[in-house]
């Protein structure tokens, strides 16, 4: 198998390239870039004039729901949604049922992903057994089985000593601890951001101090232990200020945000009162939070954009706001939202956007050279994008099994045209999933 892509604008910040050029993928790897690629013979040649060619997106935060909640999503449907969104590698979250807290479940997910998935699936394991916050999982064994990070996501690790010990114990294995920052005493059963909109709707508020409080604690623990802390889905100004401080101090702390935190604020719920597609954890913040997220994406405080893709069926969403599940879909809109809001919106260069969506998260996982770049020798994971093509989000057309998105009906500029994983086309905008 060999594919030559010509005339595309290759944006590969890890390789320091942003130029119209050619890339050839042979047997699943990038065989050559530029003039050398032009000279090579390929079975398939694609003229991609006008398109952007990016290393495939690496999404650190995806809920595939399998095993246990297959009514919401499966490994098959979730990875197809990823392909449609240009995501070629994703990290599957461990809040499955049962929780991914043992090598056996990790092996099950890996085997299913190999058999039924269409993109690369990496596994996050729980920090604690059963995500109960009481005992550590077998960190060394899990890393040996291929686990790339640890998190009780959905919940934070509330016990400060347990978090300290997880960081200490994981150090010899260079374990990455991803935190869902939520001090539950402060979030206090809140269902949306605490602010004027929650006051008006009479909904219980989830103050951004709940996120910042746990982030602050973990920064202190990162400094004390030298362990690696990564913050999932950061959304508030205070947390981002703390992160900026931690990085200036040289601590091993990294973080991601999700597209809805730079694309929306809690005014969405004033415009769509009690619409449960606006319910997620952490919740949409105030406009000041949204602007702080954009600033942190610009200035390097944030390392990645990850979706926190959280599929839920109508059973979980067509109910009272208080009772509705937290979370929204992300895989099929993240690249388009990044281009539309951040790149076309004038906040980020295309190269910085690719850093956040691909090179940055790849490096965080220790995959630099293989993922997040299209340099010679890298994996043949790539995405072709029509940067100026406008399209309207229609959840009925999603590959995902679920439909829960606040972006339905929104017109976005920037469209995924084709996605390749390991040298094989998996998605074509005109035909859908092609494997």
């Amino acid at each position: 198998m060999s594919t030559l892509i010509r005339n595309a604008r290759l944006i590969d910040p890890a390789a320091g390239i942003d130029a119209v050029t050619s890339v050839i993928v042979v047997d699943g790897k990038v065989a050559a870039v530029g003039a050398e690629a032009e000279k090579a013979l390929a079975l398939e040649t694609l003229d991609a004039a006008g398109l952007w060619l990016l290393p495939g997106l690496v999404d650190l935060h995806v809920h595939l729901r399998e095993p246990g909640q297959e009514g919401k999503e499966t490994i098959a449907t979730g990875t197809r949604a990823a392909a449609a969104g240009g995501v070629t590698t994703l990290v599957a979250m461990p809040n499955t049922a049962p929780a991914m807290d043992s090598v056996a479940i990790v092996e099950l997910v890996k085997a299913k992903a190999a058999a039924e998935g269409v993109v690369n699936v990496l596994c996050a394991a729980a920090v604690t057994k059963g995500r109960q916050g009481a005992e550590l999982t077998e960190i060394a064994e899990l890393i040996k089985a291929g686990v790339v990070m640890f998190t009780d996501d959905g919940d934070g690790v509330a016990n400060s000593e347990l978090m300290r010990r997880a960081l200490e114990y994981g150090k010899p294995f260079n374990a990455l601890m991803m935190q869902h920052c939520e001090d539950k005493a402060l979030s206090n059963d809140g269902v949306m951001n605490e602010g004027l909109v929650s006051l008006k709707l009479g909904l219980r508020g989830w103050p951004k101090t709940a996120e910042a409080s746990m982030a602050a604690r973990d920064i202190i623990l990162a400094e004390a232990t030298g362990g690696r802390v990564h913050f999932g889905h950061l959304s508030g100004k205070q947390s981002l200020d703390l992160l900026r401080w931690a990085k200036a101090r040289g601590l091993k702390v990294t973080a991601e945000t999700a597209p809805h935190f730079f694309a929306l604020n809690d005014a969405w719920l004033a415009e769509h009162p009690y619409d449960t597609d606006g319910k997620m954890n952490p919740p949409l913040g105030a406009e000041a939070d949204r602007l702080a997220v954009i600033e942190a994406l610009k200035d390097g405080t944030l390392d990645a954009i990850a979706t926190d893709h959280a599929p839920h069926s109508s059973l979980d969403k067509r109910v009272e706001f208080d009772k509705a599940a937290f979370g929204i879909l992300g895989l099929e809109t993240s690249l388009a939202l990044t281009l539309d809001v951040l790149v076309h919106g004038g906040h980020l260069s295309p190269s910085r956007a690719v850093e956040l969506l691909s090179a940055g998260p790849a490096a965080l996982l220790g995959l630099e050279g293989r993922k997040g770049t299209l340099a010679k020798g890298a994996d043949g994971d790539l995405v072709l994008v029509a940067p100026d093509e406008s399209w309207t989000v229609d959840p009925e057309k999603f590959q995902s099994k679920s439909r829960n998105t606040p972006f339905a009906g929104r017109t976005l500029k920037g469209k995924v045209k084709r996605t390749m994983v390991a040298g094989r086309w998996v998605y074509d905008d005109a035909k859908g999933i092609v494997v």
Binding site: L199, G202, L203, R204, Y274, V319, E320, F321, D322, K323
Partner: protein, 315 residues
């Protein structure tokens, strides 16, 4: 007949001053019905009204029931013990079942803000919000407005204090919307944990002020609405003791003296006597608390009638 140009009554936020006036005038007409020996009119004859209450309520449920009965509707009370762990039928399925029995009006009381709105968007029946979580309680506000209007002949230019746990109060929200729409000024008062300064920003540009000092709130007001203190708030660290709360925020005869002479005292009930209001005030000459209950039936008759009344029948 003149009807409300809306299917549902979910809040007062979206109701215009004209609609409120229409409701209050109709309620005034129904007060007269209550004075008759046979307290019935045929305005809702043949219509089915369901009272769906997920929270315990005596006063509001009884008041709606009587109102529907006096309009000759077939009325049914359904009380559902609700908890977050309860599984089974969804709210929308429950309502679909009622609707299959030719439901005209569904009156809903729930601890979940926005759930009447969810039902309204998915049902042909008229939905009346009888209190949804911390959001709104529009018929309570209408009866408060009626009580004030009967006393003063107008709302325009009055100053009304609302005292207590404003943050968690659907009554405070609906009262404030109604009062400002009819030209009254509002003072919200309570400790910062239950009456944050920011809450005034919900009504930007409107004459709504926030204070944590009861005397400041009462100074020269025409009326005061005392909110019920939920005792379980103490466990959520919102106040230290009922003793201290009373000292700071209870309406006593001495405190009432800061208000205008003869100022009206209201309470949506049920009262914690001796806690947020002294018996001397509750039973005193300025108390309109039982009058509020009487007006409640008339206001709810007006709401049901103007939402779902038969075209041919009149009051």
């Amino acid at each position: 007949m003149k009807r409300l140009a809306r299917k549902d009554l979910l809040d007062l936020e979206s109701v215009s001053a004209e609609e409120i006036e229409l409701l209050l005038n109709q309620a005034e007409a129904f007060r007269e019905v209550a004075a008759r020996p046979v307290k019935k009119v045929p305005a809702l004859r043949g219509k089915t009204v369901i009272n769906l209450f997920f929270e315990p309520s005596t006063r509001t449920a009884t008041s709606f029931h009587l109102a529907a009965q006096r309009l000759s509707a077939d009325v049914l009370d359904i009380k559902v013990a609700d908890s977050s762990v309860r599984k089974g039928e969804t709210l929308l399925d429950t309502v679909a079942t009622f609707e299959a029995m030719d439901l005209s009006v569904l009156i809903m009381r729930t601890s979940h803000a926005g759930s009447p709105a969810l039902v309204a968007a998915n049902s042909k029946a008229s939905i009346v919000n009888a209190g949804d979580g911390m959001h709104e309680h529009p018929t309570q506000a209408l009866l408060d407005l009626m009580t004030l209007k009967r006393r003063y002949g107008r709302l325009d230019g009055l100053t009304v204090a609302i005292v207590g746990d404003v943050l968690h109060s659907r009554v405070a929200r609906s009262d404030t919307w109604g009062l400002i729409k009819l030209g009254a000024k509002v003072r919200l008062c309570g400790p910062p944990t239950m009456c944050p300064s920011s809450i005034g920003q919900l009504w930007p540009g409107a004459p709504v002020t926030v204070t944590h000092d009861l005397r400041e709130a009462l100074e020269g007001v025409d009326a005061v609405q005392m909110l019920r203190l939920q005792l379980e708030r103490q466990q959520r660290f919102l106040f230290p003791s009922t003793r201290e709360y009373s000292k700071l925020y209870a309406l006593t005869t001495e405190k009432l003296a800061f208000a205008k002479a003869g100022a009206l005292v209201m309470h949506p009930g049920p009262m914690n006597r001796g806690l947020e209001i002294s018996s001397g005030v509750a039973d005193g000459p300025q108390s309109a608390i039982t009058e509020q209950v009487t007006n409640g039936v008339a206001v709810r008759m007006a709401v049901l009638y103007l939402l779902a009344g038969n075209e041919a029948e009149t009051a």
